[in-house]
Symmetry: C2
Subunit: 250 residues, 2 copies
Amino acid sequence: MTAHVFDIKGLKTSCQNCSLAELCLPLGLDQVDVDRLDEIVRRARPMNAGDHLFRTGDAFRSLYAVRAGSVKVYSLDADGEEQILGFHLPGELLGMDAISGKAHACSAKVLETTSVCEIPFERLQELSLRLPSLQSQLFRLLSQEIIHDEAMLLVLGKKPAEERLATFLLSLSERFHRRGFSATEFNLSMSRHDIGNYLGLAVETVSRLFRRFQDDGLLEVQRKHILITDLPRLRAMVHMCDHAEQGTAH
Amino acid sequence: MTAHVFDIKGLKTSCQNCSLAELCLPLGLDQVDVDRLDEIVRRARPMNAGDHLFRTGDAFRSLYAVRAGSVKVYSLDADGEEQILGFHLPGELLGMDAISGKAHACSAKVLETTSVCEIPFERLQELSLRLPSLQSQLFRLLSQEIIHDEAMLLVLGKKPAEERLATFLLSLSERFHRRGFSATEFNLSMSRHDIGNYLGLAVETVSRLFRRFQDDGLLEVQRKHILITDLPRLRAMVHMCDHAEQGTAH
DNA sequence: CGCAATATTGACCACTCTCAATGAGGGTGG
DNA sequence: CCACCCTCATTGAGAGTGGTCAATATTGCG
């Protein structure tokens, strides 16, 4: 078992990936606890773009933590129309909306080569009965997911297209930055279509906004590649004082 | 202490109100556990329309369960613009988005004469370490809140005004019905302005839609009073197969 | 009884969607 | 290695849903 743990550590330091343990480290779990956590986590093979982590209707068994790559979570309504609920980057947890049911209500699709940790929820729940700070962290993570969704409700309910895209770019920027990447230069793993879908906009609108932002000197866009050239002004567009988003964000 | 419990029971049976214990009853807690739960719940005085349960920035200490009346939860963005995140009816829990922080990120305002139970979260958390099914139920409730918010994301992101209002009315209908009230006749405790705000629509649009629905024979509206005259057709408009919403819904 | 807040209704306008055409990459097979 | 194709992205023109502004009702409350 110890070998197992060391193995994980190697992974951790080598490629910025994560596990639930990592999500919980800030919370004062001691090393023994972290090891116990690591024991229940299944480290999955890398997946390819287009693969599904789970689909609507699949039995719910586990949460997933993204270690590398990115995942989009979406639901389909009665008409078969897709609504993207979030994009998950390394260090973020997903699948929490399935806890209250027996089956997943959403689907999760991998956007690029991605590796995830699978965390069997039953065992996590048992373990958290014995580790108060784990229980506490789980409540916190669930709550953060709520906060994220509520922030999106504000965006979709009140903000014009321009501000929606700015908010989206800033969210990515912050999340990359938190993971030790550049806050101003990154690649989008999702298509324009996906961005539009997520933000409640048509693809064409997204495209036009990218052009406008570029013309306004806010950023340089080349296909999937984004270079933010005026972060302060982008922030000013959003005008926001909220700070949600910490470990589970989309 | 037993007297206390009896006291609560009297309340419960007399006026359809709720407590956390009630939310947890379906889950196989035995009577002793329920009593323990009841012990930590503070039964608050009734509040008047316009009163705040909590405001943005207030220290987070408790969750609240609505026993009678209704509550709107909203956040303010940087511009001071309000976004209503949900309406809570009797039997529903609120405040869960504050768990991950020290302070409330939203405000909760009472829409009419309302009574709530206050549930100190610290104590709830401690108790749930000893009662696995309580822990499990809490996870479930958090998760349902996420599901509700995600359903709203679909509505705000993809649905036209007409369908938004239909969805809203059906949600109220189901929730009243679940509580033993009529599914087709009820009073709106919130203003047109609030409805529009919640649904991402202008007040005027809401007003026009009520008229159209009435002209189309879907319902009869008289100010706050709603009589749904063609529930099946209202359902058809929404076309939905989702069934979320169980204890915490808005 | 009268003022203030809320709701309704109408006219106009704008943001964004839809439709349609063009252009650019990326992968596959010849 | 290039040609082809298919998907994705961009760009333009026109249309429509829903927002804004403004005036008028209605209700509730002091």
